[in-house]
Amino acid sequence: MFDLKNPSRRKFLTMAGTAAGASLLGNTGLVVPSAYGAGALGAVKEEDAVIAFGHVGPISDEGWTSTHHDGLVAVKAAFPKAKYLEIETIPYSADATRTFRQFVAENATLIFSSSEYGDLLAEVSNRAPKVAFMECNGHRVADNFSWYYVKHWMPTYVIGVAAGLMSKTGKLGYVASFPVPSVFTSVNAFQMGAKSVNPKATTQVISINSWFDPQGASQAGTALLDNGADFLFGIMDEAAYLQVAEKRGIPAAMWNTDVRRYGPKSYVTSCVVDWRKFYVEQTRKRLAGTWTGNEQILLPLGEGVDRDAWGESVPENVRQTADAVRTKMLKDGFNPFAGEIKDSAGKVKIAAGEKMDDMALYNWNWAVEGVTGLAT
Amino acid sequence: MSVALDRSLAHGVGHVADPDAAPVVSLRGITKIFPGLIANDAVDFDIRAGEIHALLGENGAGKSTLMNVLTGIYQPDAGQILLDGQPTRFVSPAQAIGAGIGMIHQHFKLIQAFTVAENIHLGWGETPVLISAKDIEDRTRILAEKFNLAVRPEARIDEISAGEQQRVEILKVLARGARILILDEPTAVLTPPEARELFKALRQFRAAGNSVVFISHKLDEVLAISDRITILRAGKKVALREAAGCTPSILANLMVGRDVVLHHARPASPHQANPGDPPPMVLQDVSALNDRGLPALTGIELELRAGEILGIAGVAGNGQRELSEVLTGVRPLQGGDIVIAGYRVPSSNPAMFRDAGIGHIPEDRLRSGLAPSLSIIDNAVLREYVIPPVARGHFIDHGSAAALAKRIAKDAEVGIPSFQMPVRNLSGGNQQRLVARREMRIAKSVLVAAYPTRGLDVGAINTMIDYLVALRDSGVAVVMFSEELEELLNLADRIAVLYEGRIMGIFNAKGADMEEIGLLMGGKTKHGERVA
């Protein structure tokens, strides 16, 4: 018998062959083994340090990748004597493994991967135990490996509140990439924020199977508007659907950076991220020898993630209501992700009185009631 | 050979060319070497204004090669080309045509899927960049009138007869302003009336002060049309003669280098079919379509007999191709039956016919009988790769394959420097010889030979005919397609006349009425009626 729905539960078989297949080429003596990084994970002199950044998109995207690139620029300013490596547009294929290995071959001291490459990156880090790896939005940790992300669900909930207030029909549209936890969390937070002020709020999601596909995003945005949505949100590395919204006179909220110039009238706000401080800090630790693996880091609201300044057409009462929620989060530690929460099929998933913790939010993989178009 | 001597010989002969004028083209000491073979060895060749100059030689003598050197397809390894007295070298046929020299090749080079008008305007500097289909058709019509060559501008090449294709090729070079026209075996694919039309056009062309180089193996024709004749043997020029005063046997002797018998009488078949044996093949009420899906054969009733040559007479385009393909299993039947040695064939299948001992010399060797880009060995074993020794189970024994290729080349009397070379590098006649030998080997019961002597030199025609006779005498049923009634009457035991896809009548060759057959070929009976 096999379990079609949940293959991941299958017993994990280790291959005898993997262990047996010890380095054939390495044993010939023909090949110089590559240097596995510079010394132990102890302190590194600034001039000896090599800091590497691998990105999923182009650094000119004015979105996700450019925020990480800004981080690199800040680190460079803080440690000008170190050497920097940066590769953009790394595909989610074995090319990712090749690319990160190339960083190792270049004696990288600390490698930031600004997207989750999973096994493809683990393949490299496992064999470079003396190089420090940090994977954004990652899931595994090791002695030389930590992951980091932002609690984007907090500002997203605030954006949801604004959306709920600004939407007349209560029909919200969401341009998604893949049905993965970051997207579930974002969609759910948005829907819950909206619903808290607008009981008839629903969110329709369209996934375009890419993080960076301006054309796909425009098409999805148009389809959502054609379907009756009067507020757009999404999780894209660029600003394409904002232009669609601007043309149609519909408000839209964005991700990553302030992109209001692409749609000054439509722009509501953005779930902005800022890695500069975090990257400088991690690099400083690595140089000082105090960097550690096995860390799971989620930057909180106000420290790396927040809503952007409100757009010109956002009414005063909307700003005030939404900001009141934000203040409550910052001041009182308000966690809006509390039971009772039903999934999109109407089943109670979080009982009344229960609260979702950060890890539950980070790994969220079902859609809440009111969300359509996101496979659970 | 001294030019002065030739001029004195020319004295008094009444052709248009002025013997004292400098030749328009003069090839001096042209040598062309291919790996393992000298195709042209220090050849001199002159073309005067206003003459038709024939180029003769056995298969592989180097005729096509010499003309390919002149038109820039090949570069000579030694020697000089003088055009109007100026040393010249063409690096492409396009450049040669730019200088007024155009060549019509042994194998046409038209694009099958294009129309006549498109082919004529293709790659021509004078074709306007933007032009409608109608405009190029109109332009083609005007050109056709100007040069007196009947073509249909809107017809696609694969729809028209060989004769018309040739007129298109000629029109193509004339339109580009050729004053020297080179024709490589132009009449091989023409019906006699088409050939007469061609000759008329060539004489007109010459009358305007232009020149023609004419390559042919048909000596009568050469004597009838040409003013002077150059003869090549094994790459060397061996003679230059005025046509007046030559005879076919003089020419044949010069080509071969020894006396040749041009015709010999052939005794009738000694073979006595065993009366109890079923005929090797019978066609019963067979009909078939042509490539365009139109009826090509209707109600064919034909019985082949062991030890007999059955001639199929008729003007090309009356179903010959389809009939030869039906007889060899290549073309499916639309109706009727084929009975091979008493067994009804369920469906046409060339492999089955091959296994039944039916050989096939196709009318168009390069298109259907050979894979031009593959080696001579690959092409030689095309019919026998399924049986030992070439086949060893599912494998091919390359040693046996090479041995078989050598054997076939030897029987066909074709000298081959390298068996690995693509078969397209062989001369046209040598390709034909190889195909014919290859097919005769498997023809244990029937040989279907469509124009088997096409492209062969005089000696090779004799050899070919001897082989056909020998096959017949050994009890094989030979079906021979030919347009030359005389050839058929001389060789065949029975003659069937094919007209518009029907058999008009079958005659015993002995005592056949040539006039009646000729009329039937045109679709008429002796009493002047048309047959439906």
Binding site: S8, L13, G26, D119 | T88, L382
Partner: protein
């Protein structure tokens, strides 16, 4: 006196090889000038590419991981060229081969050798199935295979996306839909270089032998060189065409199986790395010859590997892509240039 190019009817092999070498050399010179202009030292970069590709364990592994699939997809495209057809769909067959292999690996269990054999067969079957419709359409209705195989590539990508982000999704990965990790892995030879490269070499050699030494191969060659002659000779052209296309699809599918079970270990979008499309270039550069695929696959792997190394040296992706394109362009025209030679001429026609 003038100089003109003359086209030769056929090319000697040594000239063709030399033309390719010169073309690649030329592309490197142009690439070198480009990187020099952009402020890098071309020689240190070249040295870097060589040492990084062939001087380190990682580099060699990476090279091998590119070389294997390129040989297979190149072979897939090359075999159809032998019979005069184009399989533009190796990309799709690669994906579907990966899908089939993943399905077997995720939902069945057994001893690794058995499971890997089953996945291998499933990959081949998947690839063959994916080319089945274009094959039959070509064989029985004469529908152009270029278009049908190409279109199915896009369908294959959708199938993979559907499975990896939907039905077979592993809920742990954050940024990209992917299935769970397949618990059966192609054994590694060295580091992460898995045995797929041996399969690729074996496939190339086997195919070369089949084409040269079997009746089937002979029939395929004749059919590819002149389909009329093949039919005339009694070769079952249609069934040869079908077998060649299905074998081609199966090879591409096996490439997909090896990639998913040997390199990526999860089915997810984008794993093909464009190997299917690159295979067409590999096959064309190889002139349709299986053994030639080894050489052109090698060149292609060096080029792709160099692309990554150069990016690590701070050359921007777009510049790298431009250079890769340039090299491919030069090698492709090198093939054509070999058909020409320069001759000195007197052009009388122009004087007249």
């Amino acid at each position: 006196m003038a100089f003109r190019l003359q086209r030769l009817p056929s090319v000697r092999p040594e000239i063709a090889v030399a033309a390719h070498a010169v073309a690649i050399g030329l592309a490197f010179v142009v690439g070198g000038i480009a990187v020099t202009i952009s402020g890098h030292n071309a020689f240190t970069l070249a040295a870097k590419v060589l040492t990084a590709s062939f001087g380190s364990e990682f580099g060699l592994e990476d090279f091998g991981l590119l070389f294997g699939p390129l040989m297979l997809t190149g072979l897939a495209a090359a075999v159809t060229l032998r019979i005069g057809l184009w399989n533009i769909g190796a990309e799709g067959q690669f994906y579907i081969g990966a899908v089939f292999a993943t399905g077997v690996g995720l939902f069945f269990s057994g001893p690794p050798w058995l499971m890997l054999t089953a996945m291998f067969l499933a990959g081949g079957i998947g690839g063959a199935l994916w080319i089945l419709v274009p094959t039959l359409a070509r064989a029985y209705a004469n529908v152009n295979e270029i278009i049908t195989t190409l279109l199915l590539n896009f369908v294959a990508v959708l199938v993979v996306n559907y499975l990896s982000t939907g039905l077979w999704r592993d809920r742990k990965q954050s940024v990209l839909g992917a299935t769970a990790r397949i618990p059966y892995e192609v054994p590694n030879l060295s580091g992460s270089l898995h045995a797929g490269i041996l399969v690729a070499v074996a496939a190339v050699v086997l195919m070369a032998l089949l084409i040269r030494y079997t009746r089937w191969g002979y029939e395929v060659r004749i059919s590819g060189a002149n389909i009329f002659a093949a039919h005339y000779a009694g070769i079952p052209v249609r069934s040869r065409l079908i077998s060649v296309m299905l074998i081609s699809g199966a090879i591409a599918g096996i490439a997909g199986m090896l990639e998913v079970a040997g390199t990526v270990h999860r089915l997810q979008g984008g794993i093909s790395n464009n190997f299917g499309y690159l295979g067409i270039i590999v096959a064309v550069l190889a002139g349709g010859s299986p053994i030639g695929v080894v050489f052109s696959g090698f060149v292609m792997a060096v080029i792709l590997n160099a692309g990554i190394i150069l990016q690590a040296q701070g050359i921007l992706l777009n510049d790298v892509l431009a250079m890769t394109g340039l090299i491919l362009f030069f090698t492709a025209i090198g093939e054509q240039v070999a058909h020409y030679r320069i001759v000195a001429t007197h052009v009388v026609a122009q004087e007249a």
